[in-house]
Symmetry: C2
Subunit: 349 residues, 2 copies
């Protein structure tokens, strides 16, 4: 099957139109669509418009509240909690990021917990958004059990990502942006390999009995990054983002089999860089660091060295020029959605 290429504007038009039919406000529909397209443009297609059918099903199942509004609870002065009650995840995260910037402006740092939203989308979106505004961001998610805890078999630990945005440009002009899972790979990597008919790299996955496998059809769960390190990070993220918000995921789902427990929680931290140093000096030192790294002597097999976010930034330029490639199966699925939800079908380039 070939790919179908669609422009950013057309995909945005389509996603906003579809979400709007569910009762979601136009502003919120744009926020959700924006995060999906941000991921598609960066080549992180697992977090792109492939999620539209999933979100629509969750809305039908009343697990996703398209008209939900997160409620902010100011706690001690530099902190808050956003109680989301299954409101659209990206709407919650943008509100939390904006609020954390306000607090950081006054207090030097601002921190918020985002509890019980729907799927948050690509975490890097929010860290980049903060960095574009001249602040640094560190965010992490406490997510669903899709990984095996170090030494365990079965799905019992989350590949919870961490994202860090730095308000200084990488080589492509966008802020430096680290966005990584605490698993060797994200859980979607197995499904993707199965669809493509390719094998998995060694050390990525185990089967249901806990034996290492490179066959995506036998693979049941991904392994944690660096064994106890990845599962340790995942566990403390559950303690800091989930349990701290009174919104645990692992115990209700793994120990009690509750499928209605939260699917994600997040911690958002924003640092007021300019309250520590002059921004120009900060930017210059980060730019020097980037230049130093790019210029390091390379190992055989490496044509160049990349800094965090650089690969994605390049893909954005390519996909803005050439359109966003969608697998034919997904394009067909979105076409059926157009019919079902009575919106104008997605036009290919």
């Amino acid at each position: 099957m070939g790919d179908v290429r669609v422009s950013h504007a057309e995909l945005l038009r389509f996603a906003v139109a579809v979400f709007s039919t569910t009762g979601m406000s136009e502003a919120d529909s744009k926020t959700v669509a924006d995060v999906l397209l941000w991921a598609n443009e960066r080549g992180v297609d697992s977090h792109g418009v492939i999620r539209i059918p999933i979100y629509l099903k969750e809305i039908k199942d009343e697990l996703y509240k398209p008209t939900g509004k997160p409620v902010i609870r100011q706690l001690l002065p530099a902190t808050f909690q956003l109680d989301c009650n299954r409101a659209p995840g990206p709407v919650c995260m943008m509100q939390a990021a904006a609020r954390a910037i306000e607090l950081a402006t006054t207090y030097g740092i601002g921190m918020g917990l985002v509890s019980n939203p729907t799927h948050l989308g690509a975490l890097g979106r929010y860290a980049q958004w903060v960095a574009e505004r001249g602040y640094a961001a560190m965010m992490f998610i406490a997510g669903l059990p899709l990984m095996s805890y170090h030494g365990a078999k079965g799905a019992n630990s989350a590949t919870s990502p961490i994202a860090v945005g730095i308000p200084a440009p990488g080589p492509e002009g966008a802020p430096l942006l680290l966005d990584m899972a605490t698993g060797v790979a994200s859980a979607g990597r197995i499904r993707q390999a199965a669809l493509e008919g390719s094998m998995l790299p060694e050390g990525l996955a185990i089967d249901a009995d806990g034996h290492p496998t490179t066959d995506p059809k036998k693979a049941a769960t991904v392994l944690p990054l660096g064994g106890p390190k990845g599962s340790g990070l995942s566990l403390v993220f559950e303690c800091l983002a989930g349990i701290l918000a009174g919104s645990p995921i692992i115990v209700p789902r793994v120990a009690k089999g509750t499928t209605k427990a939260p699917i994600q929680n997040a911690m958002v931290m924003v640092f007021n860089v300019a309250s520590f140093r002059a921004m120009d000096d900060y930017r210059r030192d980060v730019e020097d660091l980037v230049a130093t790294v790019k210029d390091l002597p390379r190992r055989d097999g490496f044509d160049e060295l990349l800094v965090p976010g650089e690969r994605g930034d390049r893909e954005v330029k390519r996909r803005r020029a050439n359109g966003i490639p969608l697998p034919e199966g997904l394009y067909t699925e979105l076409d059926k959605i157009a019919t079902e939800y009575k919106v104008e079908p997605l036009k290919a380039l």
Copy 2:
């Protein structure tokens, strides 16, 4: 060579006596000695009393100021910077941790940068200390270039650790404590294997030409945890802890060859758990999570599953009962120091 066992009290007595001869105050000598012994008791001997000869040499070379006092600069209300000017690292970190707790008590979160101290010792010590006081901690270091950036050869990236302390008990009764390097292993792992005459695991190190090796005599640098993930974390820690404090390490040392640049910087964050939820509820949920993890079905070859900090907590109990083992070479070296610094020699058990 066999090991010599020494009691905690005797090692503490010795370390405090030695540091005191350099002009370091008794209180500061105790703080530095405490951090070294904390590491020894947990089995992290690379960060234990093996550092005494190194610190003494740095003091002679005027790279370590035994009478130095860190200066605190309050910035916006929830943040501060501790300018250390090579004052003893553990003294700086304990002061930063205490100040961050004070700020978190008022603001919900407290954050401080610790710039240009001497060696900080085991980062986990400070995260545990915070957690013992009912707060959660996240700390990371921006350290010396001892690792190869992903795709690079040579020493140009730090194995900068991150530590997270959770104010709820693990199975041994001490707070949950994650303390991990962003390298596959710490840089000291190569030296240790060379001393022991053992081979390194695959994927841990490369030689000076950038080729993978398991021979500790050929190994030049450790590799980053998970390739771009570990070197990405290390890079953003340099941006957040080092450059934010106006105290960069990588560019001056790697690009400019300056050996007098800072050796470490740290970011310390403390979270006021009780301002988010009732402590009892928080503790109960973490305890449930720990119990769930301990009880997961195991893969072949795993007799049990460990949570962050558990292995170290057990070693503490063993070493408190049986004494701390020191390699004979180190014991001899400390004996020579006793003579040189005119302190009572270290008595073995």
